[in-house]
C-alpha cells in the first residue's frame, strides 16, 4: 500500500489537518527525538523539544517550499531548538549533565577491551566523540543525510561537511587506537 508523501502531509497540515499532523508525527518523532537526545543528553528535555519542533511544523507548514526533504527540515528545526535549549542552561547545570552522560554505568572502552568486544568499544568511542563529531556521524550514518542535506541542517558549507566527517572518523580511529584497537588508519 502506498503511503501519503511527507510533502502532501505538510500541505494538509498547512490547511489545518490535525490527522495529517498525527501521521507526520508518528512517522518522524522517534528519529527526531533521538537526534535531539544525542545533542541535549536529557530525555525529559528531548521530549519537550520534539513537541516544540512539531508545533513549529504546524505553524510554519504553509511556508514550507519543498526545496529539501521534510525530514531534513525537521532535523534543522530540531537542531536549532536543541542548541537554543543548551544555550539557555547554566554552565554548571550543563557540566553536571555532560558528566553524568559520560559517567554512565556501561563499560568504558578499556573495560570493553578486556572483554574483547570490538563492537562495544566502537560504540563507546562513538558515544564519547565531541558534540560536533557525534552530530555529523549521526546525520550521515543514522539519519542517512547526503552532503547537501547535512550542510543545510548544520548550516555549514558542503566542503566543511566532508572535512568534518573525515576528522570525526579520524578521531574515532584515534580513540579506538587508545583503547587498544589498531585499524591501520589514519
Amino acid at each position: 500500500m502506498q503511503q501519503t508523501s511527507d510533502e502532501v502531509l505538510i500541505q494538509r497540515i498547512a490547511g489545518g489537518d490535525r490527522l495529517a499532523m498525527q501521521v507526520l508525527f508518528a512517522r518522524h518523532h522517534v528519529r527526531v527525538y533521538r537526534f535531539v537526545l544525542r545533542l541535549v543528553r536529557n530525555e525529559s528535555t528531548a521530549e519537550d523539544l520534539i513537541s516544540e519542533v512539531f508545533l513549529d511544523v504546524w505553524r510554519q507548514a504553509g511556508r514550507f517550499e519543498g526545496r529539501s526533504a521534510v525530514s531534513t527540515w525537521l532535523l534543522a528545526i530540531a537542531r536549532f531548538k536543541a542548541l537554543s535549549a543548551l544555550r539557555g542552561r547554566k554552565e554548571a547545570e550543563l557540566d553536571d549533565e555532560v558528566a553524568e552522560a559520560i559517567e554512565d554505568d556501561s563499560d568504558t572502552p578499556e573495560a570493553a577491551m578486556q572483554k574483547k568486544d570490538t563492537s562495544a568499544i566502537l560504540r563507546k568511542c562513538i558515544e564519547t566523540l565531541t558534540p560536533d563529531h557525534r552530530e555529523i556521524i549521526d546525520l550521515v550514518y543514522y539519519h542517512e543525510k547526503s552532503v547537501e542535506e547535512v550542510a543545510e541542517i548544520v548550516g555549514i558549507p558542503e566542503n566543511t561537511v566532508k572535512t568534518r566527517m573525515f576528522y570525526a572518523r579520524k578521531k574515532l580511529a584515534e580513540s579506538l587506537k587508545a583503547a587498544g584497537i589498531e585499524r591501520g588508519w589514519p
Binding site: 502506498q2 500541505q11 489545518g16 533521538r34 544525542r38 530525555e43 528531548a46 513537541s51 563492537s119 585499524r183
Partner: protein
Amino acid sequence: MSTTMKNAPEREEIEVLLPWYAAGTLNRRDTARVEQALANDKELARQFEMVREELGETIVVNESLGAPSQRAMKALFEKIDAEPARQPAAVSFNLMSRISEFMASLSPRTLAYAGGVAAIALLLQAGVIGKLVGERTGSFDMASAPVTTSVPRGVETLVRFSPQANAAEISEFLKANNATIIDSSTDGNFRLRIPAKKEQTAEIVKKLGESKVVTLVLPATN
C-alpha cells in the same frame, strides 16, 4: 589491474566520500566513481569495511536510545488545540497543492504507463513532422545572410532523464557525449543533437542508453 590508485588527490576525495557511499546517499556520478575506485584499490576497500562497521555501530547506538513517551504527543496536541483556528480556504483551493497531491496518489506503474503513452505520441508527432520536412525539396536562405554551405545536423535522439538525475549529472552527461538539447516537451522528453554521421545513430543510441542519467533513449526522426 592496480591495487592502489595512483592519483593521490582523487584517492583522498574518494576516501572522504566513503561514508555517504556506505549510507547510499551519494549521487550516481559519485557512486560510480567510488565503485570504480573500490574495485581497483584494495587499501580503499579495506577502509570501506571500517566505514561499514562504523555505520552499523552508529545505528546500534541510536536505536538503543529508545523512544519518547506519550507525553510528547499529548503536549504537542494540547498546544495545537490552543492555537488560533486556521483559515482552510487558503490552502484547500491551491491548484499546485492539488496537482501535487494528485501526482503523489498515482502509482509508479500508472505514471510509467502515462509516460510511455506520451513518449509514443511524441514519436508519432516527430515522425509526421519529419516526413513533412523530408518531402520538401531545396533549402531556404536568410534574406540578410545567404547560406552557401550546409551545417551538418548530426544525429538526433529523444531521451528522458532519470528523475533521480540532478542538474550537474545531466550537464556532465551532455558534455561527455558532446550533446546539445535542441527541444523539450512538457511530458519530460528531450531532443538531443550529437555531431555525428547518421550511420552512427544506432551506436550513439546504445552509448547514451548505457548511462544511468537517462531512462529512455530513442532515435529521433530528423
